[in-house]
Amino acid sequence: MSALTFAARDSATMLRREIKHSIRLLRLLIVSAIVVPVAMLLLFDYVLGGAIGQGLGAAARGAPYIDYLVAGILVMTVAGGCGPTAINVTMDMTGGFVDRIRTMAVTRGALLAGHVGVSVLRMLVATIAVTGVALLIGFRPKASVGDWFAVLGIIAAFAFALAWLSAAVGLVTKSVAGANGSTLPLSFLLPFLSSTFVPAGSMPAGVRWFAANQPFTAVVDSLRALLSGAPAGNTPHVALAWCAAIALVSYLWAQASFRRGTR
């Protein structure tokens, strides 16, 4: 059998393993991947939405706040998947599984491919579920079929980038608690410092520049434009470029950390 067949087989084996893990941890995952973002959606829409919606002005394009909010919540949903991915990778690292695999004639990238593949899968399932809830409570997107495909593509690319980043973080983190903590900036801080809930332009000067130019804003803005049927301009390209850059750097970082192992 060729190296390529082995690589595919080993990756499939690791993918199966991770799917099994996800099923065993299903209740936990449902809470962190779906319940938390849905709670954010409800809190921001029902509780804070009135005031924020009024303050949005032209950015709302005359639609209710929920139509502005959902793009941000979807990005938060994707980012919420970072913690579990980093934790799973850290557990493999600290529990000796990575070392075990590294002493076997197993394709080098297979374990991480499994983690990243299932991570993306989890993030996509969660975004679909959260979108469903949003539609139930009054989200009215104006996207065309083509726009929807673009939305799916951008979310998948973003999920892929963040999954590699989480895997890399998980590889260099020494403990499970540390892995969770290390992903908090991704799943919590960066969304708030972007156009997830309010336009970057409404923020104080120092934060504004950062918020306007960071990847989360590029992704949120492109999704928001596509979902509301507004002209997206070059935002999808900027978003995809960010995703490609994050994915590439994280991939290289993760591969190097995996080769180094636990020392």
């Binding site: 087989r9 393993r17 099994k20 557990m91 000796g96 599984f97 070392d99 695999i101 020392r263």
Partner: protein, 319 residues
């Protein structure tokens, strides 16, 4: 040159000049080793002596800073992939998947070893049976005892029938009964012709299992040989004679020129290389006119040897 192309070598592991340092901390300071096929070779030493580092280097986990090593005829540096195909490693901490059942853990290894599905199942149930894990096969290791986890770990290592197994402190932290079980398993593996490199800090374990032992201290091999050879290394395999007075001691010392005398205690220590044979010989040489108050035979155990070769530092650490 031939060593690299001959893949059924008589030497399972050959290491020379192995060095490893982390920053300024030297962990391995020029280690030479040669392990024959089918042999149980024990690396014995206190914590921090470098045992685990040797295992990690030989199992391709970390690179050495210097030195040459071949494992089952493959060059460790250039043919790491081939090395991985013939070795099995069971580390100090059980590397089992806690979310999968015992059986799923074994089947996962089978898949990663690319065993056909029929063989995978057969091998896994065979190992579950052999390691007394049948009842626990459908449980996750969360509910396993330490000994069970260690057995599952070893079973996972054996899925691929490795020809060389690294066992890094296989019984550390186990209760005496689990330790006995582990020893039994290791002995069975040896009967099947597997070569084993074992690390341990238990002298008894090395004595019980190993054909040859290398004593490691601060990154150097300080003694090497069969357990018997090592015990003989110590100027401690001796017969101790106690005399009633200085005159008797004098007389005996003249008759036994190879002995060392202790005038204060009126004791003579005579090296004893041949056991009972030399005892008979010794008594004959003493003759009838020397009054011996007391006689005792001292056979050093590995512990004595270990302390002798590693110096007092190790002894202090131990106590």
């Amino acid at each position: 040159m031939n060593a690299q192309t001959d893949h059924t070598p008589r030497t399972a592991v050959s290491v020379s000049g192995l060095r490893k340092a982390y920053g300024t901390k030297v962990v391995l300071d020029g280690v030479d080793l040669s392990i024959a096929q089918g042999e149980v070779f024990a690396l014995l030493g206190p914590n921090g002596a470098g045992k685990t580092t040797i295992v990690r280097i030989l199992s391709t986990l970390i690179p050495a800073d210097a030195g040459i090593a071949t494992v089952m005829g493959y060059d460790l540096r250039r043919e790491a992939g081939a090395v991985r195909g013939v070795i099995g490693v069971t580390g100090q901490f059980s590397a089992v998947d806690d979310l999968l059942t015992g059986e799923e853990n074994l089947l996962l290894m089978g898949r990663l070893l690319h065993l056909p599905s029929k063989e995978r199942r057969a091998r896994s149930s065979e190992l579950l049976e052999r390691f007394e894990l049948v009842d626990a096969a459908r449980q996750t290791p969360a509910g396993y005892s330490g000994g069970m986890k260690r057995r599952l770990d070893l079973a996972m290592t054996l899925m691929g029938r490795p020809r060389l197994i690294f066992l890094d402190e296989p019984t550390t932290g186990l209760d005496p009964r689990s330790r006995q079980t582990m020893w039994q398993i290791i002995r069975e593996l040896v009967r099947e012709g597997v070569t084993i490199l074992l690390t341990t800090q238990y002298l008894e374990e090395a004595d019980q299992l190993a054909d040859r032992i290398a004593m490691l201290d601060q990154g150097r091999i300080v003694a090497e040989g069969t357990p018997a050879e090592l015990k003989r290394l110590l100027p401690g395999a001796h017969i101790r004679l106690l005399f009633a007075d200085a005159a008797s001691l004098d007389k005996a010392a003249r008759a036994l020129s190879e002995s060392t005398r202790d005038d204060e205690e009126l004791v003579l220590r005579v090296p004893n290389e041949r056991g009972i044979g030399s005892l008979r010989d010794l008594l004959a040489r003493l003759g009838d006119d020397v009054a011996v108050e007391d006689l005792s035979i001292h056979t050093p155990d590995l512990e004595d040897v270990f302390f002798a070769v590693t110096g007092n530092a190790a002894k202090e650490k131990e106590s």
